[in-house]
Symmetry: C2
Subunit: 328 residues, 2 copies
């Protein structure tokens, strides 16, 4: 029988999950839950109900795992501990500093309910975390480097959009090639924020706006831009739509470490992603971990889990015999 998946929240990520379900033949979309009026939400899958979020508990026995597609700032800290009382759940909580608290809250609720809640699934946190953990366990002495991009940062794009006179904006985070090469060469450089990434903005200005002032406000914005070398390009609304409507992203996790009696041997472990669609890739990771959550729960497991706590075999639609024979 297929794994019945619910999507809770239907934005970019929720739509990505809907597409990912279509790529996993052992899963099916059972329902989409939205805080909007369900009659206004049009989904891509025929015959699947869109349900008001406050009716979610009526689906307790119709869904094997709920993928929660909410924001980390205010949605997930509330939604995940609440929904895990009725469902196995997956979220992509990405506020790194608050993960221990979120873990504790979800763990308590999940154990009381006998369900599994997998938090912080995606690529960072998620696959990048796995790359960091595995490589640190192997090379116990060494340096870690994470580079993000080239990709669209939604938070930085929003920050530029809030500037007076800006009609639209897109911000790309770009790793500095020289820094990447120095790390790959095993030089273990100490890198400042400015040396690791540059920021490139594409801005549509409102008619008559002062472009010099906008550029200056961007480049001097604390936290977001002032510690970086930032380039600002003014473009037309048509160019924005034509050239910058995607949400590409990616990055590099590199560990450089030494072995040998006199630390004479250097080793580089690198994990990298080049993604045409950040939300669709994240959604694909979520669906793989949704499968794992259902399997673990069927074995009697409950509580909060992360990507660190799940044996990789649980993610695969293939049998153990198949993966041992063909992937090991």
């Amino acid at each position: 029988m297929s794994i019945r998946i619910g999507i809770y929240g239907y934005g970019n990520l929720g739509r990505g999950v809907e597409q990912a379900i279509r790529k996993n033949k052992d899963t099916e979309l059972a329902a989409v839950f939205s805080r909007r009026d369900p009659s206004t939400v049009k989904i891509a899958t025929e015959g699947v109900p869109v349900v008001a979020a406050d009716k979610v508990s009526e689906y307790k026995d119709k869904i094997d795992v709920m993928i929660i597609c909410g924001g980390s700032a205010t949605d997930l800290p509330v939604m995940t501990p609440a929904l895990v009382r009725d469902f196995n759940v997956i979220d992509s909580f990405d506020t790194h500093a608050n993960i221990p608290t979120h873990f504790a809250n979800v763990d308590k609720a999940a154990k009381e309910a006998g369900n599994v809640g997998v938090i912080s699934v995606g690529w960072d946190p998620g696959m990048f975390s796995l790359a960091r953990l595995y490589s640190n366990c192997i090379l116990t002495e060494g340096e870690d480097y994470t580079f993000w991009g080239k990709g669209v940062s939604q938070g930085h794009s929003d920050a530029v959009r809030r500037i007076e006179g800006v009609a639209d904006a897109r911000q790309y985070t770009v790793p500095v090639p020289e820094a990447l090469e120095a790390v790959r060469a095993g030089k273990n450089p100490k890198l400042t924020t400015r040396e690791k990434h540059t920021r490139v903005c594409y801005v549509v200005a409102e008619e008559g706006a002062d472009k010099a002032r906008i550029e200056n406000e961007i480049k001097t914005m604390p936290n977001y831009f002032s510690d970086y070398d930032t380039t600002v390009n003014f473009i037309t609304a048509e160019e924005m739509k034509r050239d910058h409507s995607g949400l590409p992203h990616g990055g590099f996790v590199i560990r450089s470490g030494k072995t040998g009696a006199n630390d004479e041997h250097n080793h580089i472990i690198e994990y990298s992603l080049k993604l045409d669609s950040n939300p669709e890739f994240t959604a694909s990771v979520l669906v793989a971990f949704a499968r794992a959550a259902v399997r673990l729960n069927k074995e009697g497991v409950s509580g909060c889990k992360t990507v660190f706590d799940i044996a990789p075999a649980y993610l695969s639609a293939q049998s153990h015999d198949e993966i041992i024979a063909h992937m090991l």
Copy 2:
């Protein structure tokens, strides 16, 4: 209390394990077992006994996990099922086609004894297998590519050494840069053996040997060289010692897959290694999985495991709280 590790077999890999133990403060070397006369085996760690292999069972209660450093062709199929009757064990069995049989043999013996046996640990099989499995679970439709090198292939070096008139030889496997770039660009090329790797040989010829014949014998050798573009360089014994005494290796595991309603988005997941010392890196992976084997067995787990069957958290010397807070 430290994890007490035994090393069974003291060649390049065994020596690498000895060094890796020094980099893992929660582990200690308890004993080295050798089929040679122990009085002739000099190890790097003071105060640790070298013991004849046939006395290994006397150490049943003095060792928490045995790392078996034997060859896959004839040693490990016998050693691993035998030793798992007395110890938790780790091996690096790498004959891909025979893994299911080896798994079944080790599983039966390990379950009967109540021990854990982790097989096929290292980087391929091992970390490369993990890269393949994770990326296939995320991108369910796509193409897999594995490139090896630049690195020394011991098997190919040995094959060249067996040619008449060859005093010494070293063979490097080298990925073809154009093939790597085409894969990274998401072009999903169909690549022949010749298009993926080249082979570069450094040969010390015996005095008076016919170099043209040697070169021809190498280049036309079936299975090993005839399907590849091979370069043969004749060098002196001094150059061999100076420039080719290391055992570097590495490689690339890449998955390229599509998502979206119309497969309009491409994604590239790449895992790569650049290793100065193949045996020392492999040994570092073995020690991390040795820690996991001991922990699993303490929880009551027994049987054969692979890298697919072990949650990553078990590999870390850090606590769960620490890895959640700092690595996720």
